[in-house]
């Protein structure tokens, strides 16, 4: 147990500070190259640097390489390769507008190293009921899991600080659950995701100085998905992610097809005269989590963000309860 403490501390410090110190120069470079986008939720014409995914992937790679030096696990290689591939996919989408098929298909391909490295266990564990052997089905699950988690995090990246704040809560919840299940090595390997998200949140929180972009959101989502698979905590990971899952579910069940957000004409949210967010009555607009939160009345961007964080904490508690239930058999 003691031998695990040093790699844990080193990797967490590196994950946090690599992101913390590389973002200010990255913002300068992005602004200089005119890689900025308008913050649509601000009254003034505010331009924000994008993408911050470059710092995020750097923090993840550095900390995971250090952990690989200590543990030499194929699971760590799977994290590095799949997450880097997801970053590259997101970066292409940041630079060039790709078709709706691009991200799901390429992210499915990015999941293949998990299979080739054998970094998974095809026993699918459920709380209270034990596990079930589904070798063939599990391969399909791996290929679907990475596009789903990647796009789910991407879809919640709608307001300042929400994607990174959401990841801080969800990823630390997942790490806590892995510790509860005594899967210590994977728990340690998962910690850098929480620290990278925390460092990024410092610059992403309202008012944002940088946006993660698709490269950042897909990096977060893909790493989260890989941890869920290699740690054998797919169900717990899905529960911790429920607010974002609800967002995607509401969106898909209202538009009834897989479509990029930019292709949707109707606006789910508009502004009041004092620049608060308000749900529209537009029937062609998709139903989203933010729109449902605003159904009770207009709120500021910050208030909506905190409402999402409270929901994430609630689902995090449910995930931790589920982790405890894993040890109980009916």
């Amino acid at each position: 147990m003691i031998e695990l403490i040093i790699p844990t501390i080193i990797s967490c410090i590196l994950a946090f500070f690599v992101v913390y110190f590389t973002i200010p120069p990255l913002i300068k470079i992005l602004v200089k190259k005119n890689y900025t986008v308008k913050d649509v939720n601000k009254k003034e014409n505010v331009m924000v640097a994008r993408p911050g995914g470059i710092s995020i992937i750097l923090g993840i790679i550095v900390s995971e390489i250090v952990l690989y030096g200590f543990f030499q696990l194929n699971e760590i290689l799977a994290i590095i390769i799949t997450t880097t591939a997801a970053f590259a996919i997101g970066y292409v989408d940041d630079r060039k507008v790709m078709g709706g098929w691009f991200k799901p298909v390429t992210l499915a391909i990015a999941a293949l190293p998990i299979i080739f490295l054998g970094a998974y266990n095809s026993d699918f564990t459920f709380p209270l009921f034990g596990d079930v052997q589904i070798p063939l089905l599990y391969l399909g699950l791996i290929i679907f899991m990475i596009p789903i988690t990647g796009n789910t995090i991407n879809s919640i990246d709608v307001l300042n600080g929400v994607a990174s704040g959401f990841m801080v809560i969800a990823s630390f919840t997942l790490s806590i659950c892995l510790f509860i299940l005594q899967n210590y090595e994977i728990a340690i390997v998962s910690l850098p995701l929480g620290f990278v998200s925390l460092a990024f949140y410092k610059y992403h929180k309202i008012p944002s100085k940088i946006f993660p972009g698709d490269s950042g959101a897909l990096t977060f989502g893909a790493m989260y998905g890989v941890i869920a698979i290699i740690g054998g905590v797919e169900i717990i990971a899905a529960i911790a992610l429920l607010p974002a899952v609800i967002n995607s579910f509401l969106f898909l069940s209202s538009v009834k097809r897989v479509v990029e957000h930019r292709q949707i004409k109707g606006k789910p949210v508009e502004f009041t005269s004092d620049f608060k967010l308000k749900a529209t009555t537009d029937k062609t607009a998709p139903v989203t989590l933010v729109r449902l939160i605003l159904a009770g009345g207009p709120l500021t961007e910050k208030q909506v963000g905190f409402a999402i964080f409270k929901l994430t904490i609630f689902s995090g508690i449910l995930a931790i309860i589920t982790a405890f239930m894993m040890g109980v058999s009916l």
Binding site: V132, Q133, L136, P243, S253, T281, L292, A295, S315, L318
Partner: protein, 76 residues
């Protein structure tokens, strides 16, 4: 509204736990032995079909639940 969202979250969680239970009870003991070397492919294929069926039922139940919980709000 917010209590509706928490209720929906809780309902999703319950459905995951119950759905998982049904999956283990149905798929756990399931095996086909009469196809020689190919029994595991047939067995896995059948398991995949049952699992997909369960997922479709899960989504349908969730859709009904969503319409019930957000009756007022979904009249956008």
């Amino acid at each position: 509204m917010k209590s509706g969202l928490y209720g929906f979250l809780f309902a999703m969680w319950s459905l995951i736990i119950i759905g998982g239970g049904i999956m283990v009870v149905l798929l756990g003991p399931f095996s086909i032995q009469q196809f020689g070397d190919f029994h595991w492919i047939i067995s896995s294929g059948t398991k995949v079909s049952i699992a997909l069926g369960l997922i479709i039922i899960w989504i349908l139940v969730l859709s009904k639940l969503k319409n019930y919980i957000f009756k007022k709000e979904l009249k956008f």
